[in-house]
Amino acid sequence: MNRIAALGGLIATLGFFFVPVINLKPNRLASGTGFGLLELTGDGRYFVLFALALVPLVLAFRDDLESRGWLLSVSGSALFLLTLILPAQAGVMLLENPEPFLGEGAFIRSPRILPSGGLALGLLGAYVTLFAGGRDLARAGVQSWVRGVTAWAAPAIAALLLVGGQFDVYSILVEFYANGAALQQKFVEHLLFVFISLAVGFVVGVSLGLWASRDERVSPVILYAVGIIQTIPSLALFGVLLVPLARLGDRLFLETLAFFGIAVVVAVVIGGTYYFLADREPARLRFVHLLATAVSAAVPLVLFVGIFVSFVFRLANVGFTSGNYGAASNTVGVFFVLTLVVWLGGRWLLKPDTRARLISTWASLALLAGTLVSTVVLFVQASGSSRILGRVDSLETLTIRDLGVSGIGVAPALIALTLYSLLPLVRNTYAGLNNVDNAIIDSGRGMGMTPTQRFFQIELPLAFPVIMAGVRNAGVALVGIGTVATVIGAGGLGDFVIQGIVNTSIDQILLGAIPAIALALVLDAALRGIEGLLTSPGIKQVQN
């Protein structure tokens, strides 16, 4: 007996029985009246759903694995699709003449159909059933790709129907059609600040992790520090960053530049004395000295990187969202995608050190160059926009705020997100590099590999999967935290969520939430894919 299937059927059935499937709202704001599957008027086809919900419960008791698996997959898919389709049809009928269903004095203006709990439970039940079916098929030894197809058939069809406008009656889509353009802009924004901060975080985190794994004296310090950062609530971190950044924003660029110079000098001096004294100092003092060097060097570095990155973000944001530079930004996109496709595709399809492989490598390099060039072009164009340095007339009056750094806005978001991305990256890099078998490194040395060769040919490839796992965690987390960044005016998908709360409009909330979820899932999948392609099969076997 397959109890998972039974569970799935149970969820769906109970959902249909006790929870309203759709909710008829007299207008966008007012909360409407819910309709259980039973209350839906019209012909008996809604009972088909009940039947379908009960099917897995029955199938669960069959014994033959394979046939059970197939039946479950089929019924699950059917349940999935019908749970979406039938209520939509019911909704259409309700909307034709809503008055009788709404209470007295209901203010009816462009009423809507809000998909409700029952529908969600139905889908959940369908998912569980599909899961159970897939598991049976797996145990019956059906190839993985066949299972993949069966599992994804229903969602694919649903997607087609969605595009075909089958579900347009659902309020979330009504909302989408109303705000599509705005959504697109916010989405790009979100994508941008997640990517940029992930990229910066990657560089910083990996190098920190590297340092930690190289010097066991600093490793506790570094790991503890990033750990602390992680515990700080996102909202709080935004708040804490607000004040210093606001102050920084007021500074003149030239002042800051001067300070930067001084800080660099100081760092150089401290570092210099470190190397000058290196042998004469006692070990512990030397360690403290080393840390001091790192910190003093970090100050100007962070300052500079912070300003630079937020300026780049501003350029990118103008370039990608303003539409005036559509062609150029599209070029960047196309080049980028092509680079990935050619490079990964080459690695994946072509045998190593064959001619084709070589060509694909060169091609991807060329494309990469193309990406960079077109990006530069885009930025040059964007920097012409009044939104970059609009007010500035002379270098003297140029403030840091003009460069995009201020307490409110995207700068704190970028910094906070970067900080949050550190823990998984540092931790995984550290773990990954530390877990490389010493014997392997030793034989590497024994064969006369230089430290660089050892790092790039042995340690990095072996630690790669672990590091990538870190990148994935960080990425998914950032997409989530990114939605909070709206409260400090960083924009992104969070805007819809917050406004949705303010207007008590659940559609608007979902309009922000669903793309965010989708983005997180896609990002995760994409990174998994890259990880899979770039990991040597020699170490993949043991992973799973």
Binding site: R3, I4, L7, S31, G117, V128, F131, R135, R217, I228, Q230, T231, I232, P233, S234, L235, A236, L237, F238, G239, V240, L242, V243, A246, R284, F287, G407, I408, V476, V479, G480, I481, G482, T483, V484, V487, I488, G494, V497, I498, G500, I501, T504, S505, I506, I509, L510, G512, A513, A516, I517, A520, L521, D524
Partner: protein, 369 residues
């Protein structure tokens, strides 16, 4: 390198804190916040006394009838306590002052460091230290003149410093209430799920569960809270539900991982010796998985502190309130006040739980830090 292990250092630190508090008490500061001035007069000294109700009443839940004056009353009561604290120092029999507390801790740590060096310290010292630090920091939440003074230093020109609708300590109280309630529920649910799917009877549900829980992680926190709000209604409960949903992952995952990582041969041996399944679970598996499970609990609670801050947007109160309204009305002092308090609370809880985790891990499995 690890100073925490050097005997006596802790007690020295405590002594230092005591001295600091003593000198603090001599400092007279101008009170700028209006309500505060009403309460304590133009100048106040903060002789922080111990202020320890863990949870205040949840001051602001939807549709719960409550006067705005209550808050004031609470505030006054609190502030009176502060203002009297200076007398308390003059006459040691008065309200327990943090100064005496720190001094006491210094002595206690000293005793533990030298007296108990080898006995029981793994159990006693971490807890004592954690408790002590918690009391000190928590007490500072109650001392508005302190925050007033600090914010005044940072924002000399700003007319409003302290959050005007609620006291910091009651906000922190609401916050703790959210965290505690949700954490208790989360832990119960998470452990039950985690344990049951690792029993042979329900093992087939394990992949399903981990699949669901993992994908749950991709839903943005803010989104969960926001979606819950219109469904459940604004206030305390949507936040709680969101907190539970979001805090579940680390606990379930770590419970599963922890239990799975217990050496099967050990379980086998136990069965061989005639343990009943429940004995195997409670005497073999749980103790050996304890450290991992507790790590999960710790993570989950800390996440909850962060998520609870977002509760402000659905009217569940907490330290997110000053941040949110500060951002709305662009009053930076409020933002900073809430942010610092929230961050402090998170770090504090993380530390305390860390010690608890360390203590509750069976001696044999403890890794020296």
């Amino acid at each position: 390198m690890n100073w925490a292990r050097v005997p006596g250092v802790a007690s020295l630190l405590w002594a230092g804190l005591a001295v600091a508090l003593l000198s603090l008490s001599t400092l007279q500061v101008n009170v700028t916040d209006d309500e505060l001035r009403e309460a304590v007069g133009d100048t106040a000294s903060f002789t922080p006394d111990i202020w320890l109700p863990l949870l205040s009443f949840s001051g602001s839940t939807v549709m719960d009838i409550q006067s705005s004056n209550d808050l004031r009353v609470l505030t006054f009561g609190l502030l009176e306590a502060n203002s009297n604290a200076s007398d308390a120092l003059a006459d040691p029999t008065g309200a327990a002052s943090l100064f005496w507390f720190a001094a006491f801790m210094a002595v206690l740590e000293g005793l533990l460091a030298f007296g108990f060096r080898n006995r029981e310290e793994k159990l006693v010292r971490p807890l004592v230290r954690a408790a002590g630090i918690f009391v000190v920091i928590w007490s500072f939440y109650g001392h508005e003149p302190f925050w007033d003074w600090m914010l005044r230093g940072l924002f000399p020109t700003s007319p409003d410093l302290l959050y005007n609708t609620n006291t910091l300590v009651s906000l922190a109280g609401q916050h703790m209430e959210l965290v505690v309630v949700s954490s208790i529920l989360t832990i119960t649910i998470g452990l039950t799920l985690g344990i049951s799917v690792t029993r042979s009877a329900f093992r087939e549900f394990l992949p399903l569960l981990s699949d669901v829980v993992n994908s749950g992680q991709t839903v943005p926190t803010l989104a969960i809270i926001a979606i819950m709000a219109p469904i459940i209604g604004f206030g305390f409960w949507p936040a709680i539900v969101a907190l539970i949903l979001y805090g579940l992952l680390p606990i379930v995952r770590n419970t599963i991982v922890g239990l799975e990582s217990v050496d099967p041969s050990m379980i086998d041996a136990a069965k061989g010796m005639g343990f009943t399944p429940s004995q195997v679970l409670w005497q073999i598996e749980i103790p050996n998985a304890a450290s991992i499970i507790l790590a999960g609990v710790r993570t989950s609670v800390v996440i909850n502190v962060g998520t609870a801050a977002l509760g402000a947007y659905v009217g569940s109160g907490g330290l997110g309130n000053p941040i949110a309204s500060g951002l709305n009305q662009s009053i930076n002092p409020w933002v900073l006040l809430g942010a610092l308090a929230a961050a402090l609370l998170a770090i504090l809880l993380d530390y305390v739980l860390g010690r608890v985790e360390y203590v509750m891990t069976p001696r044999g499995l403890q890794i020296e830090r």
